[in-house]
Symmetry: C2
Subunit: 225 residues, 2 copies
């Protein structure tokens, strides 16, 4: 028996994994970045084969990791997590630096970064796992805590993008029946849930120009749960 | 330039990864367990080639993951993190259940568990990365938070075992010079640091039978920093 709630007990951070060059770059929100060896320091990053960044990492052989802090703007998560680089130049307007390899490194809302050279690529099914040797790493802001996936889910009420390794199809979760006069509305684009009880405001009372705090979708893109 | 402090900004949980059968089992403390695909759910677990558990997973083809909670007993971390199964039957006296494959699953201080069948093994250098397909998962205790590596380091003041992918040789860290009348003592076995200022008690004033809260080493095994 698989209780999918158990999968949420595994701890993750949240990162922007980027690749490209000084003239073109792309990136995505990842929660699966982790160190796999200490000598030499090597990191793994999982990326859906459907993510445009997977192609860019495969062709350039380098990636960077920006570690987001816990007060990171929802807009940056929406931009990198719920939009495709096939439709949008995600790096436009972002605060960037470039690594030794020329790979773009997103500095917005980041407290640290890594730059890695791909030494292995494993096909783990729906995802590629890039193993990168560390070229460069630094702390950018030591005053803030790293954003964890738990905090993102519990406090920021975000959900995993469909391409994330940790995406859970909600139909698989055991439903709890509840009697409530408050309703919950879900963003069809990113899965963010607006909970009237927690927000203390009815969804209908929100202004017409209100947008999803995670991905920027409009009110009309929400459906009642 | 690699600033090793940046590596501590990557978020991890802490787990006991076990393998074996109903008659013999072994396990180790891991911070690198993470989901790599959602369809089907697959998890990666990194294990030092020097860890006895690596041999057991390789020979049985199964592993379990016990997710520790934030108040987990330091003794269990000492037992599974700083001792070798070559010298000790780590499962003796532990509260266990057995998976569908017969793999032992440690229940002590665990809030959830996973049971996985190995479908791939990657050699990432000093470590093997086992990719396991999920056979079973459940929540054991929903009232407690998962232990994170950050909490373990900051609150429980633990350090990574030498075989961990995230082990950092402290000589590589930038030292900060401090003027202090309090001293700090480090456990030679596991690296746990006793900080007189934080503890509010001089190390010399501790009773002679005091032991390292992480690995159980004696007072004599500590050296002054």
């Amino acid at each position: 028996m698989i209780n999918y709630e158990a999968l949420f007990k595994i701890s993750y951070g949240l990162y922007i994994v980027s690749s490209g060059s000084k003239t073109y770059g792309n990136g995505f929100i990842s929660n699966t970045v982790f160190q796999v060896t200490s000598q030499p320091p090597r990191f793994a990053a999982c990326c859906s084969k459907e993510n445009h960044t997977a192609e860019v990492i495969s062709s350039t052989g380098y990636f960077s990791v920006s570690v987001l802090h816990s007060e990171a703007d929802a807009g940056i998560i929406g931009r990198f997590g719920y939009k495709s680089g096939k439709d949008l130049n995600k790096m436009e307007g972002m605060e960037l630096k470039f690594g030794e390899s020329g790979v773009p490194i997103v500095l917005n809302d980041a407290i640290a970064f890594l730059e890695c050279k791909v030494v292995e690529t494993y096909d783990v099914g729906t995802h590629l796992m890039f193993i990168g040797e560390l070229l460069q790493a630094d702390v950018l802001d030591d005053s803030k805590e790293a954003l964890t996936y738990l905090y993102y889910r519990q406090v920021k009420k975000g959900v995993a993008p469909k391409n994330a390794p940790t995406y859970v199809d909600k139909t698989k979760l055991q439903k709890k029946s509840t009697d409530q006069e408050f309703n919950r509305y879900e963003c069809a684009a990113c899965g963010y849930i607006y909970d009237e009880e927690q927000e203390g405001k009815k969804f209908d009372e929100l202004p017409d120009d209100w947008v999803c705090p995670v991905c920027g979708s409009e009110k009309d893109d929400f459906f009642k749960l």
